[in-house]
Symmetry: C2
Subunit: 368 residues, 2 copies
Amino acid sequence: MSSKQAKPQKPGKAASISDVARESGVSIFTVSAVVNNKSHVGKNLRERVEEAIRKLNYRPNLIARSLIKQKTQTIGMIVPDIVNPFFPMVVRGAEDAAQKQGYNLLLCNSDDSLAKEETAIELLLSKRVDGILLTKAAGEFSPSLRQMIKEMNIPFVLVMRTYPQLTKDAVISDDYQGAYEAVCHLARSGRRRIGLISGPLKISNAKERWRGFRKALEEKKLPYEPDLVVEGDYRIESGFRAGHALLSHRPDGIYVANHLMTIGLLKAVDEMGLKCPEDFGLVSFDDYPWLGVFRPRLTTVELPKHQLGSEAAELLIQRIGGNHGKPVLKKLLPELRIRESCGFAQFVSSEQRRASSPEPSTVSLANP
Amino acid sequence: MSSKQAKPQKPGKAASISDVARESGVSIFTVSAVVNNKSHVGKNLRERVEEAIRKLNYRPNLIARSLIKQKTQTIGMIVPDIVNPFFPMVVRGAEDAAQKQGYNLLLCNSDDSLAKEETAIELLLSKRVDGILLTKAAGEFSPSLRQMIKEMNIPFVLVMRTYPQLTKDAVISDDYQGAYEAVCHLARSGRRRIGLISGPLKISNAKERWRGFRKALEEKKLPYEPDLVVEGDYRIESGFRAGHALLSHRPDGIYVANHLMTIGLLKAVDEMGLKCPEDFGLVSFDDYPWLGVFRPRLTTVELPKHQLGSEAAELLIQRIGGNHGKPVLKKLLPELRIRESCGFAQFVSSEQRRASSPEPSTVSLANP
DNA sequence: GACGCGATTCAAAACGTTTAGGTCAACTCA
DNA sequence: TGAGTTGACCTAAACGTTTTGAATCGCGTC
C-alpha cells in the first residue's frame, strides 16, 4: 500500500510531529498550526494533515510542549496523608477543579513530616509543576528551600492550614468559628465542664480551634480547666490516649478537633464503660457518610472539604495565569450538624444558619 | 561583588545548566557530569562546579531530562473515586512504592465512567507517563485508544480488577476466596437463607465475589434464591435501596460486597427497625478503623489495600525497567475478621489462617 | 621527536515542540 | 503598472537536558 515515508517512526514509539509532517508532505509548522488550530491553514492542507494525524495516531508530546512553553499544566499537591479520611474529598475537589481547566495533579504525602515535605517540594519544583497546593506540616522551611522557591517564583496556595512565611494565599475553613459553635452547642445543652481534644498546637487550624474553644468558654462563663485539655496529633491512637486521660477527670462535655481522634476517643469511652450522651456530650469535627451508622448519632461540625480543594485549585490556577492581585485568605464556613451526641436536639437547622450568611466570608488582606 | 557572568539568569527564573557552566567557567558537559556524578571530573573543576551549583541554587530541569531520556519518572494512576474509602490506602501503597524508586504519581478519577477513563488515559499518554496503574471501569476501550496504547508500548498494571484485553499484569485480591469465606462463615453461624448485595457484575471482582457466594451456597447445600441477590453499584445509595429490596424477603444472613453498600444497608436496616445480628447475620467487605465504633461490631473480609497498591506499583516499575517476563497475575489473600455481626463468635483467628498459607498466591500465567 | 595512551574536557547533535521572522504568490488600489 | 497589503506557508532558533565523537593534555616509551 503506502510505503511513502523515508524514515517511518519505529514501532513501539509514538509518532512525532515530524512524522506527521513527512507523511502529509508539509512543514512542521503547518502541522503545529493544525493541531492547535492557530492561524489559517488552507483547507486541503488541513485535511491532508488531519488525515495523517489520524493515520499515525498522533498526539502531541506534552513534555516537549512543556519544555518550550515553560508550563507543565500540572500542579503538585501535598497532603499529610491521603489515608486520613479528611483529605480524599479535598484532593477530589482540587482534582475536579484542576481537570476542568486542563491541569493534572501530582500527589504527595508528607506524613506531616517536615523532611518529607521538603523533599516533595524539591521534587515538584524540579518537575516544574506550575504551582503547588500545600497542607503545610508543622515547622519552618530550610533557608535554601525558601530561597529556591523565591527564585523559581512559583505560586503556592495553602490548604486548610496557613503559613504566612510562605504565602498569604490560603483556602481554609473558619476553624475558630467552627470550634466556637461546637462548644457553644455543648454549653447550650447544659454541659459545664467541657474538655478539648486538640490537634498539635503548632498547626494553625489546631490553634484556631483551641482559640474558638477558649472564646466559647469565656463567653458562656465556663471554667477553663487545664486538665480537660489534651493535645493530640490528629491520629486515632492519640485520641484514644487523650480520651483515657481526659475522661478520668469526668468532664460532662467534650469537643474533639477531628474525626480520627473521635474514633480513638470512642474506643476509650467504650473501654471505660461510659455512655454518651448520658455521661458526657460530644461534638466532633468533620462529617462522613459512615457516621450515620454510629450510635449515638454524632453532632459534628462539617467542613466543606470538596470546596476547600476546588477553591484552592482555582485560586492557584489564577495565580499561575498571572493574576498577581492582593493575597487572598478565603475562609469557608463550617456547618454545625446537630444530632444526638449532646442529648439535646435543639433545632438549629443548618439552612437557617446558611440563610443568615449566604456568602462564604472572603477576606482580602492588605500586604503587610 | 561578583558580576562575572555575561547573561545572568533573570530573577524569577530558575538557573539552568548553562548558567552553572558559565558561572564556573566550564562546559555544559562537565556540569552534567558532576550533577549525575558520571565519568571522572577533575577535583578542582568538580569543586568549582559544586560551588556554582550551590550559589545559583541549581536543580536540574526534569522536564528537559524527560524529553531526552524518554522517561518521565512518573506513573499515572486511575481510580474510580479517591473519595471511596477503599482507594486512599491503595493509592498510598502505590505512592509509597513509587516514591521509593524515584517515581511520582499522577492521579486521576474516572468515576467508573468509561469516557472519563479514556480521556484520562489519553492525557496520561500525552504526558508520557512511564506506565499506568488502572482500576478499570466497566466496558471496552475504543479501537483508536487501544491502537494508541499498543503503539506507545507503555506498560499497564491492573489494580483490583482484571481486564485481559488490555494486559494480563494485574494485582488483585482473591475475591472469590474472600466471598466464599464470608458466606461460609454466615453458614457456620447457622444462617440458611443468605442474601447478597453485589457490585456491578460487569466488574471483574464483583463477578468473582458472586461466584464465591454461589460456591459457598452450593457447598453448604443452601438454596440459591434469586430474590435474595441484588446488584448494586458499590455506592451507598445502592446499598440502601438493595437493603430495602432484600430485607423485605427476610433473609437471615447477608453478605455485602463492599463497605459503602454496607453503610447504605445499615441505614435501611435502621429504618425497617430490624436488628443485627438477631434478625440476620452480616458479613461485609473491607475493614476500616472507624468500624470499631459500629455496633454490632462488623465481621468483615479485609483486603490488603496498601499491599495491593504497592505491589502493583512495583510490578509496573519492573515492566518499565524492561522486564518483559511472563504476564503476572498476583492474587493477594483476604482475611476474614470475625466480630459480632453474625452473632456467633466462633474463633477462627486470622493468625491461624495466615499460618496455613503463609505466601500470597502468585500465579504466573502462560502467555496464551 | 614521534607515537600511543589514558584521563579529562569539550562542541554539537538530539529529544519534540512553539514561534519569531521570513518568503512568496495573489490580491488591492491608485 | 507597480507598490503595498494580505494570507498561507516555511525555515530556523529556542527550551534545558544527555550523550556521542572528537579534541586536548600530560606523560611515558621507544
